[in-house]
């Protein structure tokens, strides 16, 4: 019998740190617009596959880490990502039976909503320059990359027996 004792927390953290690396890796300025929200994508995967372990507080701390990494107001991404994790916790059963296209649509809406929340906070401290529709670009690429990210993390999960 397979025990349901949690295992592989380190693997989850490493995947999140790899996502953090992708968030700050230097790219040409024109591609910066479409840089997907890597950390959010990875977090969403772990929430969907381990909803009993990875939830709102993980979302909050991942967001807080994101804040320090990119130098935004502390709590800006913390708030947004915690809310994103909450929404995924509420919807994980449905997400599991959705088709690939439906999943991508949900990820698009989720990334868009979370980024919009972060944008609102950034706007309120006066650090935005471009109009809010610019977050649509990264939401679209995040949705397009959802399936590949999902497949890669599924492999990691099976390979390292994360549960």
């Amino acid at each position: 019998m397979i025990s349901d004792r949690p295992a592989g927390t380190g693997v989850i953290i490493v995947t999140l740190l790899l996502a953090a690396l992708l968030e700050v890796i230097p790219l040409p300025a024109s591609i910066d617009w479409v840089r997907p929200e890597w950390m959010l994508l990875v977090l969403v995967y772990w929430v969907l596959s381990l909803p009993h372990r990875i939830g709102v507080l993980w979302g909050f701390f991942v967001g807080l880490y994101h804040d320090v990494l990119v130098g935004t107001t502390l709590g800006q991404w913390g708030l947004a990502t915690a809310l994103g994790a909450f929404v995924m916790l509420a919807a994980y059963k449905r997400m599991r039976v959705f088709t690939a296209l439906q999943q991508c649509a949900v990820v698009f809406l989720l990334v868009g909503t979370v980024s919009l929340l972060a944008f609102l906070v950034q706007e309120s401290v006066g650090r935005t320059l471009y109009p809010p529709y610019t977050i649509l670009y990264s939401s679209v690429t995040s949705a397009l990359l959802w399936r590949p990210v999902c497949a890669a993390l599924r492999w990691v999960q099976l390979r390292f027996l994360v549960r």
Binding site: L17, A20, L21, E23, V24, I25, P26, L27, A29, D32, W33, R35, H52, G55, V56, L57, G59, F60, G63, L64, Y65, V68, L69, V70, G71, T72, T73, L74, G75, Q76, G78, L79, A82, L83, F86, L89, A90, V121, Q122, V125, G126, R127, T128, L129, Y130, T134
Partner: protein
């Protein structure tokens, strides 16, 4: 088995924590320890992201031909000779300047210490113009320090983490500083527009004597930037009838999007206070 706390309670806790942190971060310095502690975990990511650039440079250094190195060596020697000649004159001028300033009873300019740092990251958010450098609070970097490259001012340290620091560039849309025209001393406020090559002068009357090509240098007003470093050169001056101020665009003299190393200016001592008029009268 104990039933786990409902996600909605956790969400409320997280939201309250986030809002409290945002307010503390914006209004007080009390959130700094959290940022500092997390800085130990985020700095390695920045270093790692910079690794491909570093190793690429190392590789091209290792594989350069002897001829190229000799050429470079010759070029650098010539450059050093020219710079040495300029420095000879500088020493005399500096001494003369100090004497004249003493005659005028004004405070002396102090030589500042500099610390060399490498740029290891650029902010991925197009809304902000910030860079990450590889020196932190451990190297005595502190918030508010001025950052230069070999050509001019780059910006200021806005967050000194334990191992790395964030620098706000002068081109950020939320940045403004006091400058003066080197030619005639006209003062103005230089603000960023959010693009790496764009700056503008704010609230300059149409009659002000500012021309295309003028060099703008820092004034030291505001106590943040050292006085007399080049900041930008004026690229266009537009007088439009019907608008109260002239539209003046400038370009930073520093290579903001190309520099790989920067200098951090460290104020060594508190500057000498200028004498009050009463003290100046007593001296005479």
């Amino acid at each position: 088995m104990v039933a786990p706390a409902k996600p909605s309670y956790r969400l409320i806790i997280a939201l309250v924590l986030a809002v409290v942190m945002m307010v503390l971060d914006q209004r007080t310095p009390w959130a700094a320890p959290v940022r500092h502690a997390l800085g130990y975990l985020t700095a390695p990511i920045h270093y790692l992201a910079h690794l491909p650039v570093d190793s690429g440079e190392w590789l091209s250094e290792q594989t350069q031909s002897r001829g190229t190195l000799l050429d470079e060596n010759r070029r650098l020697q010539r450059q050093a000779l020219i710079l040495e000649q300029k420095v000879q004159r500088l020493a005399v001028l500096e001494a003369e300047n100090v004497r004249l300033r003493e005659l005028l009873n004004s405070s002396a300019d102090l030589d500042a210490n500099v610390l060399v740092a490498e740029i290891i990251g650029v902010d991925p958010d197009p809304n902000r113009q910030e860079i990450v450098i590889n020196k932190g609070a451990g190297d005595n970097v502190s918030r508010g320090q001025a950052v230069l490259d070999s050509q001019g001012l780059i910006g200021q340290v806005v967050d000194a983490g334990p191992l790395s620091s964030r620098v706000l560039l002068i081109t950020d849309a939320s940045h403004a500083m006091s400058v003066q025209v080197n030619r005639n001393g006209v003062r103005a406020v230089l603000a960023g527009v959010g693009q790496s090559s764009g700056l503008k002068l704010l609230y300059v009357p149409d009659t002000a004597d500012i021309q295309e090509g003028d060099l703008l240098v820092s004034t030291g007003l505001g106590q943040l930037y050292p006085r007399g470093y080049p900041v930008a050169s004026v690229t266009s001056v537009n007088h439009q009838a019907g608008t109260p101020f002239a539209h003046i665009a400038a370009r930073p003299t520093a290579q903001l999007d190309r520099a790989s190393h920067v200098l951090l200016v460290q104020p060594t001592q508190t500057p000498v206070r200028a004498p009050t008029p009463a003290e100046a009268d007593n001296d005479q």
